[in-house]
């Protein structure tokens, strides 16, 4: 018996392996993300190898450089026309480099940079044992109030890990709005969520609240991402692919070579609709839309204030970016299904955010609810489903993020013995004690309230205009009403600061380092510039308002 014959008895020849062609990645086009992630990894190495005393400085330097470089890269790409004519799909269809992506990445990077400044602030807290300290825990692992914690404080430890964490988060956020398939979307979501969960837990003061915030944020975040994932699964099941373009084709019914399996699932709209709804839910959770908003107040209150500012600004930007892309690229064919639903969500968000904020007594919670209301306004722009809708949302996000970071930066300045004095009653008469700080905060509040000549008004006008032109006049009316309600509590704070007598044992206003000053200054500048002469940025947003498919 021949060998082959023998072989053939118990073996069979496998098919010759066709070689997998290695993926080609356009590194230059995704440079911003790569820079940031790379810097983050470097940051970890820094934690490992750089002596403790130097870490803070190295980390700050590293992150700043990375963000600036990344931003430069974004600008270069935009200048290279990748936002408009040259825009395209890169990295094997994983990422899209187009106008919205670049615009939002730019916004995220800038706000991230400003946020890093507030992270690095070390003049606000009184020196502990001769060490300048920032607003992050000396040693997150040590139990609050325990020996080890005091030891850590005495040793002058600081959690410099926040910087690489922040960089990872930013990296994820950069990917999120440019993700071009559902898998990338999910991964990006996790990549920027997980560091945020951790950063929430790192407050130096009020650590119990900080940890509680982290737990809530983590559990609810994971919960929502599970829904998101299931939604992805269903969409995948429906379309047989996770790439946006592919799904869109299937949804629009313009898909070629339909195999029987696909034909089978394509018929099943339930998969599509439920899947889409679940994914929407995941994104709405991130933007803090009603009824997925409930984490917002607690987390905003508990997290270290600089982190809160960062989250409030950057997360919203990234999440809305992803939402826009999903709704405008993947599901436009479905808009008759999702628009009514989003209407409901938007209305609920605007009203509930404004109404509940009225009775808040903690400034951070107040701002949390105001951010919910603003999410509602932005949703109104999203619903427009017109190019104007896109550009108005982009503009609004840009305007909003800087005001937010600035506002929270001001919150970090008002302190008493127990750290930041966030209870509103403590803010009474601030205008008498330090008119400048009060005035700046008033500017931010007026911007939130959408008073003309502030960026808030320009943004609000843009989204409402888009909504009205998109046939959502009713939304505009609701939006107007809720901004009227919202105006009430912004005014309340101003009344408190300027018209009520200062309390004898009131808080003091710490004089910050140039870092925080920059953060606040940028906030004010952007607020006024976008309020008085927004045209340039509106043009920018208009140019950037075309998605690539």
């Amino acid at each position: 018996m021949s060998a082959t014959a023998v072989h053939s008895l118990w073996t069979t020849a496998a098919e010759p392996i066709t070689k997998i062609d290695s993926p080609q990645i356009e590194y230059s086009l995704i440079a911003p993300t790569l820079i940031v992630i790379g810097a983050a990894i470097l940051g970890i190495l820094v934690e490992a190898f750089v002596p403790r005393v130097a870490r803070y400085y190295v980390q700050v330097f590293l992150s700043v450089v990375a963000l600036v470089a990344a931003f430069a890269a974004v600008v270069a790409l935009a200048a290279g026309g990748h936002g408009t004519t040259e825009s395209g799909i890169v990295a094997m269809g994983a990422l899209a480099v187009d106008g919205p992506a670049l615009f939002l990445q730019g916004t995220i990077l800038l706000s991230g940079l400003v946020a890093i400044f507030t992270f690095a602030e070390r003049r606000l807290d009184p020196e502990a044992h001769g060490n300048r300290v920032d607003s992050f825990a000396a040693q997150a692992a040590s139990v609050p109030g325990s020996e080890s914690e005091q030891a850590a404080v005495r040793a002058g430890f600081t959690t410099t890990e926040v910087f690489p964490l922040a960089l990872f988060a930013i990296g994820g956020m950069l990917v999120f709005p440019s993700a071009n398939d559902l898998l990338t979307l999910f991964i990006a979501l996790e990549v920027f969520s997980l560091p945020l969960y951790l950063m929430c837990a790192l407050a130096r003061r009020k650590r119990l609240m900080s940890q509680e915030a982290a737990v809530k944020y983590f559990l609810l975040g994971a919960f929502s991402s599970a829904f998101l994932l299931f939604g992805i699964a269903l969409l995948y099941g429906y379309a047989g692919t996770v790439s946006y373009a592919g799904i869109a084709d299937v949804v629009d019914g313009t898909v070629q070579n339909v195999n029987p399996a696909l034909a089978g699932t394509m018929g099943n709209d339930a998969l599509l609709l439920v899947g889409a709804a679940l994914i929407l839910m995941g994104l709405l959770f991130k933007v803090g839309a009603v009824p997925f908003h409930m984490w917002t107040p607690d987390v905003y209150q508990g997290a270290p204030t600089p982190v809160t500012g960062f989250m409030a600004a950057a997360t919203k930007v990234a999440a809305f970016g992803a939402l826009l892309r999903l709704l405008y690229v993947v599901l436009p064919g479905l808009r008759w299904d999702w628009r009514p639903v989003m209407w409901g969500v938007a209305i609920a968000t605007m009203l509930l955010g404004a109404i509940v904020a009225i009775t808040q007594t903690d400034i951070k919670r107040l701002l949390a609810y105001s951010s919910i209301a603003h999410a509602g306004f932005i949703l109104a722009g999203v619903i427009a489903t017109t190019p104007d809708g896109i550009s108005s949302v982009l503009f609004y996000l840009g305007a909003y993020s800087f005001v937010t970071i600035g506002a929270f930066a001001v919150v970090t300045l008002v302190r008493d013995a127990g750290g930041e004095a966030t209870h509103l009653s403590k803010w009474a008469g601030l205008g008498r004690r330090s008119p400048l700080v009060a005035a700046v905060f008033a500017v931010f509040l007026l911007a939130f309230a959408g008073i003309p000549l502030t960026s808030g008004f320009a943004g609000k006008f843009a989204v409402f205009k888009a909504a009205a032109e998109g046939g959502a006049g009713a939304l505009v009316v609701v939006g107007v009403i809720s901004s009227a309600i919202a105006a009430f509590f912004y005014i309340r704070v101003i009344v408190l600061m300027f018209f009520s007598e200062p309390k004898p044992e009131g808080p003091t206003v710490a004089v910050p380092s140039p870092l925080t000053m920059t953060a606040i200054g940028v906030g004010v500048a952007v607020t006024l510039v976008l309020g008085v002469a927004p045209q340039y940025f509106l043009d920018l947003a208009n140019q950037a308002s075309v998605f690539v498919r």
């Binding site: 008498r432 004690r433 330090s434 008119p435 400048l436 007026l446 008073i451 003309p452 000549l453 008004f457 320009a458 006008f461 843009a462 409402f464 205009k465 009205a468 032109e469 006049g473 505009v476 009316v477 107007v480 009403i481 901004s483 009227a484 105006a487 009430f488 005014i491 309340r492 009344v495 300027f498 018209f499 009520s500 007598e501 002469a533 927004p534 045209q535 509106l538 043009d539 208009n542």
Partner: protein, 524 residues
């Protein structure tokens, strides 16, 4: 591009505001003089505007125009231009501010000393100038959006003026007063903000319909028949605009913020509210409601007229019932605004010229009455009418000026308000006789509250608390004297203003396609 006179007129007070705010805490007096200086420069510029304005029959509707692209994306341009009405009101504003500043010379001197950061005086005068700048610019704007922005933005400085610098003469404890004051300020802001936001919706709607905010472009489109608005759309937009203006004006039943605001604010600020800022509301009705939505305006006229009528009678009756001098004046103003609005919507040249004239005269007369009342209050430290009596015996000059102010308020012939009130009445009567006749009752009620006020405060036996009351000081005379002279002058010779206003009114009437009703017997 000619010389930007209008921009300059608005820019000067704005710069003044910044300059005043920048004065260090110690140099309080310098700040006052600086503010006064800038306000006077503004007045001079306003005069120049008046001179440069051509009232000839062939002249353009809007003159001294400026136009720059601003926010192309929103179809917004920085467009300025004035018609006669604008000129008149700019003049009024620029005229009153110096008096307001001088009258409020000591209102903002800080009680607590030592706190070097806190500079209330500088803030007070800076805010006044800021308001002036915004008001003037809002009278100059010929772009709806630009106007809207100013209409809203001017609330903020007003808000701080009301809430931050309350009347020291209040009933009750300090906290109580502070509470009332911030209540008044918040009420003022929220009322006007809500009005403004509803207007915002309408403004956006207008953009969706017209695609531009420039009055001139809209006028062209309408002339070319390219601007078709569905009847209901137009009506809704009209309501959106009108609501905001009616809150500002204020028109019954949206008036309740005014008495609080005027009661709690210092007298000069109260004057600023009712004599200057509120005029923006009535001005806007005349310019925007009628011009942008002629058909809707016609449609709404009956309702508006009735509301105005209610304002007239209601305001007067409530004025009679007040126990607080400043609140009384506030309700009187509500009654007067009723007349103004009635004149505007009577859609006759008499009515509208009268209304415009009324805005000017009411500004001056209220300023006169309110400022004297302020001097009175500052002497006795109480706003309650019941706390006064027999002042006329101890301070005859004060009493005399107060009487003239009251007589102006009841529009006595020979004083300016009579002319405008009669014009409004005639204009209304010509088209709506019944309403005109009912409105005439207003002149009786006006006499009632004015004279009751005078009798209770100035006549009768001298109250112990007022026995030592000093008469008007020179500074105060310098405030009141010129105003009274103006009242008499405009009462005897209103022609300059009417000539200024006439062409504008003709344009407005042609916008709403209305003509004065012809007399039954053709005059020979």
């Amino acid at each position: 591009m000619s010389f930007p006179l209008l921009t300059l007129t608005a820019a000067v007070p704005a710069l003044g505001a910044i300059a005043t705010a920048a004065v260090p805490a110690a140099k309080r007096t310098a700040a006052k003089w600086l503010a006064l200086f800038f306000s006077l420069v503004t007045l001079a510029l306003a005069v120049v505007v008046g001179i440069r304005f051509n009232t000839g029959s062939g002249a353009d509707r809007y003159q001294l125009t400026e136009s720059h692209s601003w926010i192309a994306d929103f179809g917004v341009r920085y467009e300025l231009g004035v018609d006669g009405i604008g000129v008149a009101l700019i003049g009024l504003t620029a005229l009153l501010i110096p008096f307001i500043i001088v009258a409020g010379w000591h209102d903002a001197d800080p009680q607590e000393t030592g706190n070097t950061r806190w500079r209330p005086t500088q803030g007070f005068f800076a805010l006044i100038l800021m308001v002036e700048a915004m008001v003037i610019l809002s009278f100059e704007a010929t772009d709806v959006f630009l106007f809207y922005i100013l209409f809203e933005a001017m609330l903020i400085p007003m808000y701080f003026l009301i809430g931050g610098f309350g009347d020291r003469a209040h009933a009750g404890s300090d906290e109580n007063a502070a509470a009332q004051r911030s209540y008044a300020a918040v009420k003022f802001l929220l009322y006007n903000l809500v009005g403004g936001l509803i207007m915002l919706a309408a403004v956006i709607g207008l953009y969706v319909v017209a695609g531009t905010f420039s009055l001139s472009e809209i006028a062209e489109m309408r002339a070319a028949g390219e601007l078709e608005m569905a009847t209901n759309t137009e009506r809704l937009l009209f309501l959106g605009f009108f609501f905001a203006f009616a809150v500002k004006a204020p028109l019954w039943p949206l008036h309740t913020w005014l008495p609080n605001a005027m009661g709690e604010a210092t007298a000069p600020v109260a004057v600023l509210i009712t004599a200057v800022v509120d005029k923006v509301g009535t001005f806007a009705m005349l310019r925007y409601c009628l011009q942008l939505f002629p058909n809707a305006s016609e449609w709404a006229t009956p309702v508006v007229l009735v509301l105005a009528l209610i304002s007239i009678v209601y305001g007067a009756l409530l004025a009679v019932g007040q126990r607080d001098i400043k609140r009384l004046v506030a309700y009187a103003s509500i009654s007067h605004f009723g007349f103004i609005i009635m004149g505007i919507f009577a859609m006759t040249s008499q009515g509208q010229s009268g209304a415009t004239l009324y805005m000017v005269n009411h500004g001056i007369s209220t300023a006169a009455l309110m400022l004297v009342a302020g001097f009175l209050i500052s002497r006795r430290g109480s706003r309650l009418i019941a706390d006064y009596g027999g002042v006329q015996k101890v301070a005859p000059v004060l009493a005399g000026t107060f009487l003239i102010g009251s007589l102006a308020t009841l529009s006595l012939p020979g004083l300016a308000p009579f002319v405008s009130e009669f014009l409004v009445l005639v204009g209304t009567f010509a088209r709506y006789p019944v309403i005109g006749i009912i409105a005439t009752f207003g002149i009786v009620l006006g006499a009632l509250y004015s004279l009751v006020l005078y009798q209770r405060t100035m006549t009768g036996p001298v109250k112990l608390e007022v026995a030592k009351m000093p008469d008007l000081k020179l500074r105060e005379l310098l405030v009141v004297g010129p105003l009274i002279v103006l009242l008499v002058f405009l009462g005897v010779y209103p022609k300059p203003v009417t000539e200024l206003v006439d062409p504008a009114v003709k344009h407005t009437l042609s916008d709403v396609k209305q003509h004065d009703p012809e007399p039954e017997v053709a005059a020979k």
